[in-house]
């Protein structure tokens, strides 16, 4: 397990998602190795196909870092007592998650339907947030937990009339006749954030680990921003599609190619608000654990030093130090 | 006139020639006893008569028509390794045939029909001395008891042709005599044609009206498998069952010279 101590070899894991494909590319292209060598350490980037399993493995200490959303970070590692730091805020979903209806044109039509989605995931969160905007709430419909792997096939059956999912499943389903997108994450921009989370203690004891990761990441971001076809094609193939398909997914993802924008986003005043929404959602669904007396059970620290929730139990920290170094070219 | 007609029958297992050019014509109602050295093909012959196995060449016909490809209820069998149905008790094993005949769809009798079927086999049960064991499963019977059950099961069907493969091998002399009487009585009543393999020469003479001896006529000492057995002696015992075999015939049937035995046991 990732006990807090100085060490030279590190493992981070990631799972296949449009905004995280660079991690795979960093490993295969040798960019990561180059940066790790620069700091005299060893970093292994491991692909785990099952997203939840990758977070679980990080949480139980098998990995020093893992890519996940802000929401899952709060519920799984932080809720599980693992002090976690948002090292690289990579992107936020800007239309990558959406709500689809087969019958009805507007979100309000969803009332009374069975809604297939991955329960307790960001889809669920998106639904809850979207319902607020039309004056509905969850009891007005039935959530049917559906595994993401089977979502597209499920959507092809007549039993499914409404669903919430993310890309690339979203665009596959929208390509089916008779489907319409009634809401998506661009309605709640910046609330579904994809982040490389690392163990706070490991990072504190091994700053080089953070530097190497951040350095490699932004080198790759630069390649992507410049439209490097070889890199993008490799990422597309690794995610099981082609360049065009991958670019389409990127279009609905707000990537922070530039570290400075990532820093700005993380330091913005909207983030604490977002985390409050998330914490409330999680608490309402009983995910913060049985011992959680309120949504403020787990403390979340922000770059300005402010804390949402229990200051004595801060387990999730947004820290811009390393991204700032990248922005400053100090790596 | 001839009921069972066997012509140029041959049976091979791979390279092993078991039976070779067996010709036989048996009249209806004959009680054929079959003797022969162990392993010479007697059981194989019965299995072919039963349609359990198919001859390699030659023909077998019953009443003028070739044997059907599957066993039929007009040919009964008692196997050398007596087999009864392990999932049925002694009594149910005996009632089974009646159930098949009466209950076409369920194959099972209930209530009074069942009681009367049980009644019907009660006499048989006591004839074979299994009355006390009627509720046991075959696995709970001694070897001889299983053999008696198998015999009774075959006899109850009153088949036209009855094939018996060493049916009394595991019985004590007392019960054996009872079974002889039972068999002979049914044979007379039903005009069955019986083929019975036995190693007991007295039994062969006592029960049979015709005695068939199976043996190899040709023998190649270098490859003993090369030639098969056929009917080498065919004695008419019609004069009526005899109890004591004429000793010289017994010698003909098992013509092992004393010297061989001595040579072997020295």
């Amino acid at each position: 397990p990732a006990q807090a101590q100085e060490k030279t070899s590190f493992k981070v894991c990631w799972s296949i998602y449009v905004g995280w494909m660079p991690w795979g590319y960093m490993e295969t292209s040798g960019i990561m190795d180059a940066w790790a060598e620069k700091y005299g350490i060893d970093v292994e980037i491991v692909q785990i196909n099952d997203y939840i399993e990758s977070i679980n493995q990080y949480t139980i200490g098998e990995y020093d870092g893992c890519s996940m959303t802000n929401m899952d970070a709060l519920s799984i590692p932080s809720g599980g007592g693992v002090d976690t730091t948002a090292l690289i805020v990579g992107d936020y979903s800007n239309g990558n998650d959406g709500i689809i209806l087969k019958q009805g044109e507007t979100l309000a039509d969803i009332a009374g339907q069975n809604v297939n989605l991955v329960e307790l995931s960001v889809s669920h969160y998106l639904l809850a947030r979207a319902l607020e905007t039309v004056g509905l709430s969850e009891p007005d419909l039935t959530v049917v937990s559906t595994s993401d792997a089977d979502m597209v096939a499920a959507a092809a059956t007549d039993d499914v009339t409404a669903l919430v999912t993310w890309n690339p499943l979203l665009s596959e389903i929208l390509a089916m006749p008779g489907t319409s997108l009634v809401a998506d994450s661009s309605d709640i921009p910046g609330e579904i954030i994809d982040i490389m989370m690392v163990n706070t203690d490991v990072l504190a004891d091994n700053p080089d680990f953070g530097k190497a990761l951040v350095g490699a990441w932004y080198e790759t971001m630069a390649l992507m921003a410049s439209g490097d076809e070889a890199a993008l094609t490799a990422m597309a193939e690794a995610s099981g599609t082609d360049l065009a398909g991958y670019n389409a997914q990127l279009d609905s993802t707000e990537m922070f190619f530039d570290p400075a924008t990532a820093v700005a986003f993380t330091e913005s005043a909207d983030l604490p608000q977002t985390m409050e929404f998330v914490a409330t959602f999680l608490f309402d669904h009983g995910i913060l654990g049985e011992g959680a007396p309120s949504s403020e059970f787990v403390g979340v620290a922000f770059p300005d030093g402010s804390v949402y929730g229990d200051e004595a139990n801060v387990k999730l920290r947004f820290d811009t130090t390393y991204m700032q170094m990248a922005a400053d070219g100090a790596l | 006139m001839s009921f069972v007609e066997v012509s140029r029958l041959t049976k091979r297992y791979g390279d092993t020639q078991v039976l070779e050019r067996v010709n036989l014509s048996v009249a209806k109602g004959t009680f054929c006893t079959i003797v022969g050295a162990s392993g010479c093909g007697k059981s194989t012959f019965l299995r072919i008569l039963l349609s359990q196995e198919v001859q390699s060449s030659g023909t077998v016909s019953v009443d003028g028509t070739a044997l059907p490809p599957e066993p039929t209820p007009d040919r009964g069998i008692v196997f050398q390794r007596y087999s009864v149905f392990p999932q049925l008790t002694v009594e149910d094993n005996l009632v089974l045939a009646e159930e098949f005949a009466t209950a076409r769809w369920t194959g099972r009798l209930f209530g009074s029909a069942r009681s009367s079927a049980k009644q019907a086999v009660a006499e048989t049960l006591s004839n074979i001395g299994l009355m006390a064991a009627k509720d046991r499963y075959p696995a709970q019977l001694s070897g001889g008891m299983q053999q008696r059950l198998a015999i009774a099961q075959a006899l109850l069907m009153r088949p036209k042709i009855l094939l018996l493969d060493e049916p009394f091998g595991a019985l004590d002399p007392g019960i054996r005599v009872d079974m002889h009487d039972l068999l002979l009585r049914l044979w007379r009543e039903m005009e069955m044609t019986v083929f019975m393999v036995t190693h007991d020469i007295h039994e062969a003479f006592k029960l049979g009206t015709r005695l068939l001896v199976f043996d190899k006529v040709r023998h190649d000492p270098d490859s003993p498998e090369a030639f098969g057995a056929t009917v080498t002696y065919d004695l008419d015992l019609k004069s009526g069952p005899v109890t004591e075999p004429p000793t010289e015939i017994a010698d003909i049937i098992y013509p092992r010279p004393e010297e061989t035995t001595d040579a072997r046991s020295s």
Binding site: I52, I55, N56, T59, I60, D72, S75, I76, G79, G80, G81, V82, E119, L120, S121, P139, T142, V143, V144, S145, T146, S147, D150, A154, A156, T157, D159, V160, I287, G289, E290 | L50, P71, T72, P73, R75, I77, F79, S83, V84, F85, P86, Q87, L88, L96, A97, E99, F100, A101, R104, W105, T106, G107, Y137, P138, Q140, Q153, A154, M157, P159
Partner: protein, 262 residues
């Protein structure tokens, strides 16, 4: 004595778990992977006795009931398929020639890989779940039954033919009775994949069920729910397994006169 011996490995497992759990919990008291027995007991008790706020149901019992119903239906369909096809394949040489290779081939298709096709055939509701269990367990059961039929000694088939049985009578009075105990064994072994397919099916699209709950709470690594649920599933399966064995021993006494059965 046997009871005592039998308990040893269970106690051993519990001991190893307790040690590992307390080691992890002392390092991080909020650790979720190996909760203590007390934690699990409390959670399990709550799921069994405290109604859920949203629906007012007792989670554990609703999950159990729904899952067992799916399992029962799925295995029921399997047993029917196993009996009809198994006996036909084992008993009729032509059917065997025609179906055995096909059966051997399709039994090797991992059902989870063709889920989309199952969905368009059976929809996404209860039928699909029952169908997945049936599709997953039937092929092996059909094969077991067919083999059981083939294993009936040739002498017995010959014998029953000489007793004048029609094919139907042969099947009902000789083949079926000898196949029953083997079918129950096949059913007992089929419990393992059946539960796996049940859980997979409930993970795909569901709102209740033991598998549903496990996959749901996996999203926040609530091992204090998962482990008792797994233990509960195992206990249920174990009880069903023992019940089937006892039933078989009692009804098919003849089959247990020789040798032992696990």
């Amino acid at each position: 004595m046997a009871l005592f011996l039998g308990a040893i490995p269970f106690l051993g497992l519990a001991g190893v778990y307790a040690a590992a759990s307390s080691a992890r919990l002392s390092a991080n008291p909020a650790d979720k992977l190996l909760p203590s027995f007390e934690q699990m007991g409390t959670t399990f008790w709550r799921m069994a006795t405290v109604p859920e706020v949203r629906t007012g149901d007792l989670t554990l019992w609703v999950d159990t009931f729904d899952s067992l119903q799916r399992l029962g239906l799925g295995l029921g369909v399997s047993v029917l398929l196993a009996l009809t096809f198994g006996i036909a394949i084992g008993f009729v040489p032509h059917v065997r020639s025609a179906l055995a290779p096909f059966l051997a081939a399709i039994s090797l298709i991992p059902p989870i890989t063709v889920l989309p096709i199952l969905f368009i055939t059976f929809g996404l509701g209860e039928t699909a779940k029952v169908a997945l269990i049936a599709v997953g367990t039937a092929p092996v059961m059909i094969r077991s039954v067919a083999q059981a039929v083939l294993d009936i000694p040739r002498e017995q088939i010959v014998k029953v033919q000489t007793l004048g049985a029609s094919v139907w009578q042969m099947v009902t009075r000789v083949v079926l009775p000898q196949v029953w105990p083997r079918l129950i064994t096949a059913l007992r072994l089929g419990l393992i994949p059946a539960f796996i397919f049940l859980i997979s099916a409930e993970a795909i699209a569901s709102t209740t069920g033991l598998g549903y709950r496990i996959f749901l709470v996996r999203r926040y690594l609530a091992m204090d729910v998962i482990l008792p649920y797994v233990a509960w599933i195992t206990l249920l399966a174990f009880l069903i397994d023992r019940a089937l064995l006892l039933f078989s021993r009692r009804i098919f006494r003849w089959a247990f006169l020789e040798g032992e059965a696990l």
